[in-house]
């Protein structure tokens, strides 16, 4: 397979990493150059990924790093789902880039963002479990720095709690990886996929999956390990919260999905994920209903939405992955848009009273996102929920319980989202009180309208979008093709261990 330099999938990982470490020295020399470097690198990454997508036409391929062949060396595996998620990373990093910032703090934030972009892209592309673990840790460290970037006391407390939880999660994942290695002697995902049916379909294999699910679930806001979410999103800058809730969580989910599809393709593993996802969804939405300020409402609602992502991905076959992808990307767009609004809507829900009357655009965008999130028919949110519900209805009793939970939760969602909509359009004679009172016209940046346009575009083009996602999903669940791509038939490296 000829891979030209322009479509080398290592570049989207290496370039931001290089940029992250060179940014500080560059800033010493020229501040203007330092400001340009970050966006330039992100655009270059986006270009490389697009070029790869166009050149490959959706055929998967693998790249052995350093020329060391697959089971011993590390491979990058590039298929549709990996490219899709990898391309989302620089895109959303550009959307939430600190364009306005200047000086030392902006440089520091840019460097950390580049580090995050590099590691999270690595999560999407890597085909080796230990490599994924390292990228995951790198992403964690970058996000600790980003959360604490404003250097307030409350941000530090949130960071340290997040750090302890995240580090313990990584440790659990490491223990899971150790069990996996003890039982199979490899950490290459394709090789694991070959060996899994004979070695991993037993209680110890399931324990290994459970440990990794919890471990990688910390970033994915999975149920028992998501207590860091509300306080981090309430104390971090809204842009950072948007990236963590929208982007980083999805990439952590992608890792779990790869594991589930390739290695732990067994009903017990899927059921575990389904149950944890359902509990997370219900608890998240109930907490969102009780929340009194906009950022924390979004944080809890994002826990709930990610619960639904986990539920959807736990379903077997193409429909499950399709449902998961639909929910995940819908959430990526809507929740990022909401956090873009939250950048100006910091105060309590009451202090937002009448804001929709003063800023027509912001109010309209809020209502549009709310309608889509609840699932009102022409909007994409309706189709994502429909796909999930139909897929759930085709399976057993546990799935039916999850289906009922989704329907109940939708009612709760509608309640708290519309409650805020009513507040936004309240006729208020008194001037808005509180520190968050804004001049009319403010209250929306460029990002939220852009994402609203994306949502509307997806509404019009719902059929091609669904068909595209179905192709992605079909390729994702094709385990045989994954193995064949990493180990081309001419040189099957190791015989199956029986």
């Amino acid at each position: 397979m000829s891979v030209t330099w322009a479509m080398n999938p290592t570049l989207p990982i290496v370039l931001p990493l290089l940029g992250a470490f060179l940014l500080q020295p560059i800033a010493r020399v020229s501040a203007a150059l330092a400001r340009a470097v970050g966006p330039a690198i992100l655009i270059a990454c986006l270009w490389v990924l697009t070029e790869t997508w166009l050149a490959q036409g959706g055929r998967p391929f693998a790249v052995a790093i350093g020329g060391f062949a697959a089971p011993l060396g590390i491979v990058l595996y590039v298929d549709r789902i990996a490219l899709l998620f990898a391309a989302a990373v620089p895109t959303f990093a550009l959307l939430f880039w600190p364009w306005a910032g200047t000086g030392q703090e902006a440089t520091r934030e840019s460097a950390l963002l580049l580090l995050l972009v590099s590691s999270v892209t690595g999560l999407a592309l890597s085909g080796d479990l230990f490599n994924i673990y390292v990228f995951y840790e790198l992403a964690a460290v970058a996000s600790f720095g980003l959360v604490a970037i404003h250097a307030t006391g409350r941000a530090y407390v949130a960071t340290i709690r997040y750090l302890l939880q995240s580090a313990f999660g990584s440790l659990l994942a490491l223990v899971g990886i150790a069990i996996l290695y003890t039982k199979t002697g490899t950490l290459n995902l394709a090789h694991l996929a070959q060996l899994a049916p004979s070695t991993l379909h037993d209680p110890l294999g399931l324990a290994s999956f459970a440990l990794m699910l919890i471990g990688f679930g910390v970033k994915g806001e999975l149920f028992p390990v998501n207590t860091w979410v509300p306080e981090v999103y309430a104390t971090a800058p809204a842009r950072i919260a948007a990236l963590l809730a929208g982007l980083v969580s999805k990439l952590a989910v992608l890792v779990v999905v790869r594991l589930l599809v390739l290695v732990f393709n067994q009903p017990e593993a899927a059921q575990l994920m389904l149950v944890l996802g359902a509990v997370g969804m219900v608890s998240g939405e109930l907490s969102a209903w009780r929340a009194k300020d906009f950022p924390r409402m979004l944080a809890f609602s994002s826990i709930g939405q990610l619960g639904m992502v986990f539920i959807a991905f736990s379903l077997p076959g193409t429909t499950g992955v399709l449902a998961g992808l639909a929910v995940a990307f819908h959430h990526l767009v809507v929740k990022s848009g909401y956090f873009a609004l939250a950048a100006r809507w910091g105060g309590s829900l009451e202090s937002l009273s009448g804001l929709g009357r003063r800023s027509k655009l912001a109010g309209a965008i809020y209502v549009l996102f709310a309608l889509s999130l609840i699932g009102v028919p022409p909007l994409p949110g309706f189709w994502t929920k429909l796909i999930v519900l139909v897929a759930l209805a085709q399976h057993g009793s546990l799935e039916l319980v999850a289906m009922a939970a989704i329907l109940v939760v939708t009612a709760i969602e509608a309640n708290y989202l519309f409650r805020l909509a009513v507040v936004l359009y309240r006729k208020d004679k008194a001037a808005p009180a509180g520190p968050e009172a804004r001049a009319p016209g403010l209250g929306v940046g460029l990002v939220a309208p852009l994402l609203a346009l994306v949502l509307l575009a997806a509404t019009i083009a719902i059929v091609p979008v669904t068909e595209g996602l179905r192709k992605v999903a079909a390729q994702t669940v094709d385990v045989a093709s994954y193995v064949r791509t990493v180990f081309p038939p001419v040189s099957l490296p190791l015989a199956q261990k029986d």
């Binding site: 250097a151 307030t152 750090l163 440790l171």
Partner: protein, 159 residues
Amino acid sequence: MMSLSLEAILYTGAIGLVVIGALGLVLSHHLFRMLLSLAVAEAGGNLLVVLAGYRGGAIAPILGYGAPGTPMVDPIPQALVLTAIVIGVGVQALAVAVLVRVYRAYGTLDLRDLVEHMQGDIAKAAGIPRSTSTHAPGGERPLPPVPALVRHQPRGGRS
């Protein structure tokens, strides 16, 4: 038989370390103790990774060390554990740095007090009344006084 029991002891020890660390994380309220518990648990996890490649009576995997054909332990987990140890040390160093900042901001490392302070600050910034705490009894309760402290530079990094 001897090697088998040794392996069993090592496995028990490694899992025991993880359990001790997890218990420490859950049961203690002092942030520094929680960090130490994390370090203990990480040591257990790393030991488990090394054990994944352990073979009884085998030699270290160094080329030219020992007679040819002697069984060696699996070198891959050892390479992996080096990475894991380095990552662990890095994260712990970062955690200590954050702990220093936390102490400078609030003058305590007790998690219960810190969570109270943090929730209060979040509520104040958002302009909403403080929600009732899970640790406090119902009704008003004065917060423990924050010691007067030396104001540090808010963003004193390098440079």
